[in-house]
Symmetry: C2
Subunit: 199 residues, 2 copies
């Protein structure tokens, strides 16, 4: 048998095409994916149920490097939250353009549920009420996603022609080149956050 001239359609190829479109244009449409893969839009529905399904495939890409530590009741909760936050940021920082798309859709991917479950178990065990567990998960989520966007910020986050005051100029002068600046700021903020949650 000869090889097919085009690779077979699969959820993987659909996700890849959607990702390419988001990276190139900021969004995707079913028609755009079909055109890119040289298939009829209707063929896509043999593999995905629709747009929401494709968003979840993209969420899985963004989360593919999130490492959830093995459950260990003896470990300080701060270390578990910090580990999750670090790997969550690193994983999403690869695809900053996906972030608004993912945050505007309901979460329905197993990777995401596994991560949020681990956070909820850890915080509950540490004595957080259910309401504060939800708020703390939102806090970690917002901080991590904002920080993932900061990883994609330019090396010089400010134009030199901007006239800044002496306090801001002094602060900016301390910034290391990327990615060190973003990493350093993230670790500082993570420590602040965990301190604020503990007191």
């Amino acid at each position: 048998m000869g090889r097919p001239r085009h690779p077979l359609l699969s959820t993987d190829r659909i996700a890849e095409a959607a990702l390419d479109l988001v990276l190139a244009t900021g969004g995707f449409t079913i028609t755009g994916i079909a055109r890119k893969l040289r298939v009829q839009p209707s063929s896509l529905y043999n593999h995905v149920s629709g747009r929401d399904d494709i968003v979840e495939l993209l969420r899985e890409r963004a989360m593919s490097e999130v490492a959830v530590p093995a459950d260990d009741p003896g470990r300080p909760w701060r270390d578990v939250v910090a580990d999750i936050a670090r790997s969550y940021r690193r994983s999403f920082a690869r695809y900053p353009q996906l972030i608004p798309l993912l945050t505007s859709h309901a979460v329905d991917s197993p990777q995401a549920i596994t991560m949020y479950d681990a956070l909820a178990v850890t915080l509950t065990r540490a004595g957080f009420t259910p309401a504060d567990t939800l708020r703390t998960i939102s806090l970690v989520d917002s901080y991590v996603l904002g920080s993932a966007l900061d990883v994609a910020a330019p090396d010089q986050p400010w134009h030199t022609r901007a006239e800044v005051g002496p306090e801001l100029a002094a602060a900016l002068a301390t910034g290391a080149p990327k990615p060190e600046r973003a990493d350093d700021a993230f670790e500082f903020g993570l420590a602040v956050l965990l301190r604020g949650l503990s007191s």
Copy 2:
């Protein structure tokens, strides 16, 4: 004199067209803006110097409702930072789709500089070193932008078919409907952050 059939080209109309394109497709091109405004791409260059200029026009839109409080050395620094963070989030929450575009370009708009200057003055006066002033500005930035994205999250941030553990289920059950949930989580996180910065 008769009125021109099309409104005159202006930076405002260029910004509006760019914003429409980002909201519809996630991004914009000079060609796309020209097509939308029915002008030649070269005409745009009488008003803007290029793509970076247009991104700054979009930043000004996103920041147009940021209120920087009048400088008052007698006011607690936490209150000033909280005020800025609240209005910054509210202003950006109107345009979540702009966020990755804005964070991937160097800041060069007067509104943004005014806000960052106010943060730098306030933090420096409170005794933060220049390096910690920069880190704290990054922390506020990341948290606010992530929280602005959370405002655009769906009312039900989770699909019901996702199987979640009992701790996460209990936490999710405490969530008020949007926008109360997002507002409540933001205020909780802001308090955590300010507590962590103070200790």
